[in-house]
Amino acid sequence: MGPALDRTLIVMPAFNEEGSVGAVVREVHAKVPGASVLVVDDGSVDDTTAVARAAGAVVATLPFNLGVGGAMRTGFRYAVEHGFDNVVQLDSDGQHDPESVPRLVDALQTADLVIGARFAGEGDYRVRGPRQWAMRVLAAVLSRTAGTRLTDTTSGFRASGPRAVRLFAANYPAEYLGDTIEALVIATKVGCVVRQVPVSMRVRSAGVPSHNPFRAAAYLGRACMALVFALSRPRATLRPAQAAA
């Protein structure tokens, strides 16, 4: 595939995913030849690190759980230090299909941040109730901020181009929902171009999304709060590219 994939780092945050991480790493190697894989073991208590390493990934092991935000910032820093242009975030539970990675990277030619959207036609991923309302509200507000129609702002399947990688290596948020909502806001505030590309989702290998109404309502509240604070924060500074240090 294109040379862009050679300069692409696939970052897989993994928290207690020994059951699926190995298969996902092997699948990525098979379906996205040329791309490098970094698994960030986010303080797992199981054998995630060993399994991922045995599958052929480079593994960064965090000493304790930092959440997806911390794991991803580690990935962005690794990408900057090792001269990768693009970073693709991919879940290690197998719900993201690695086959979509080249499409996301391809879309980076005209954008700085590409979101793999789950409801944009492909696949049969559905949510209902307050969780769906929350996602609709977020999509509406963030579409305005980003100046493009986004339907799935909480998708963790996304690709970042060189500008976004440099931005996120310094400013990736750690708060709850920060890795999805706030990262989008940070990027649009410094003028990054956001696009969305439809992807299909697979059934999670383990666990189902929660449909408890109280949980969903709490999610709605926290999402709105995260959004309001993200929008009210001062702009991050994007430093120009430097020669490799």
Partner: protein, 137 residues
């Protein structure tokens, strides 16, 4: 006010100030954390020595029972200290987060360096019958 309660007020305030200053002196408390305790202790001392000041200040802000001003100011100070601690906690968390990320990336570097060294060692040791040097562990 009895002479005993007058003395009690002053002694309590002095005690607070002494403890805070002693902690500062021994580097057990940093200045920016001590500032609110110093302010509180000093206020308590001033009011302890000149109780009439409290009635005067209460009258100034329209509080009928002077002791309520004491409670108000005390709660205010405690609130500020709590807020400062929450902010400090957030700062510390973000620092540990950065450290955790850096150590994990350094481990990756060390690992890849060690693998390269091992490979180089193995390559240079091959012609000889016994492997003498081993640099890791």
């Amino acid at each position: 006010m009895t002479p005993t309660s007058y003395a009690f007020g002053i002694v309590s305030a002095v005690l607070v100030l002494l403890v805070v200053i002693e902690l500062l002196r021994r580097h057990r408390l940093r200045e920016r954390h001590a500032i609110w305790w110093l302010v509180a202790g000093t206020l308590a001392l001033i009011v302890g020595v000149f109780p009439d000041l409290l009635s005067w200040a209460a009258g100034l802000v329209g509080i009928e029972v002077p002791i309520n001003l004491t409670f108000f100011v005390s709660i205010g100070v405690l609130f500020l200290v709590c807020l400062q601690h929450s902010a400090e906690l957030t700062r510390l968390e973000s620092k540990t987060r950065t450290l955790a990320e850096k150590t994990s990336l350094q481990e990756v570097e060390i690992r890849s360096l060690r693998e390269r060294m091992d490979a180089a060692d193995a390559a240079s040791a091959r012609p000889q019958p016994v492997r003498v040097t081993r640099r890791d562990d």
